[in-house]
């Protein structure tokens, strides 16, 4: 589905469609990158706004999920928690609350997210994409890494994840 040039209704429908079908991507990225609920609020808003801005450029050449992964990961990786971000959050105050609820009820998945957040940003992205079931070639396409690099990073990250989960037991 590609938008007509600057058709506001069409852009709105595409954005709403993305958020319906792929909101899980945003949730998982926010939980993997934001260390606390306030940060999660800000990061989720940042990602939503970046996705909205990207709608006019979406021509349907790639799958919507690939598009969303690329934009959301880019925002998450380069996201900085600074005073400026606070100002930006205030500036974006018009955006509906989009924050990710954190169950944090001791489930294994919560500990996995905690372990993922200890990884370097790029390794974090690779792990999340791999856990989503994407293949090496797809992860390489989304991130811009080589497949070999993806494999090496994943191997290293998996060891660290297992170690972290062992320690947390």
């Amino acid at each position: 589905m590609a938008p007509d040039d600057r058709d506001p209704d069409n852009e709105r429908d595409i954005f709403a469609g993305w958020m319906t079908d792929h909101r899980g991507i945003v949730i998982k990225i926010v939980r993997s990158f934001a260390p606390d609920p306030t940060d999660a609020d800000d990061l989720a808003q940042e990602i939503a706004l970046a996705l909205w801005r990207s709608v006019p450029s979406f021509r349907g050449d790639s799958k919507p999920s690939t598009w969303i992964w690329r934009i959301a990961l880019n925002r998450a990786i380069s996201w900085r928690r600074t005073a400026e971000d606070h100002c930006l959050a205030i500036h974006h105050a018009g955006v509906e609350p989009l924050a990710v609820d954190r169950a944090d009820d001791g489930l294994l998945v919560d500990r996995i997210y905690e372990a993922i957040r200890t990884l370097p940003a790029i390794d974090r992205s690779v792990v999340v994409l791999a856990l989503e079931g994407l293949r090496y070639a797809e992860i390489a396409e989304i991130t811009g890494l080589t497949e070999t690099n993806v494999g090496a990073r994943l191997s290293r990250a998996r060891t660290r994840l297992s170690q972290h989960l062992e320690d947390a037991r």
Binding site: H91, A99, L131
Partner: protein, 210 residues
Amino acid sequence: MTDQTPSDDPFDMDDPIARAWADQDQTSSPSLRSTDLAGLADSVARAHRKEQRLLIWLNAQEVLPSVAIAALVSIRASDSARPAATLLAAAIVLAVGCFLAITSIRHHRADRGWGTSVRDQLARRLAQVDHRARLFRNVAWWYLLPCATAIALLRYGAGGDVGTPDLIAAILAVGFLAVLYWFNRRVGRTRYEPEVEQLRALLVDFDRAV
């Protein structure tokens, strides 16, 4: 880079981590609090429009004063002792205002490379932020020096002897430009240079062999 040869599936579904991840939608309760997707789309669209209006306002703040000053100075050029110098001052003020506006518009309209890989998006962002950082770092050359030249030309265009009031005005002008210099450098150092460093570090990490 290692010689590791990846298989097709990065995570085996027998892996407890992969299983827990796959089951999270059923077993865990993370959700976007906003369930009204139409409302969300409207609010994001509103926030985007607000951003665009802010950009127009910022550009107006840069262009309108320079146009007003240039117009005022041009009108009074015929009364000055050296009209050519006065008109040159007006042209410099106008040029600085236009440069500011064009740079701002180009920065905000720059192709962000949506849809390209995460690495390429970061590289584009780095180019944009680095350009902003350089503008703030070199503010003395493209902003303060032309402004100082325009002030000097205006005074020269007015003619007459240089007296104590001129010296006081010169000291005040230098002080004002020094404050502007300090403020701009501070913005560059605190706002853009850390982001440039962060993006450079990320790109180095992207390109690093593991």
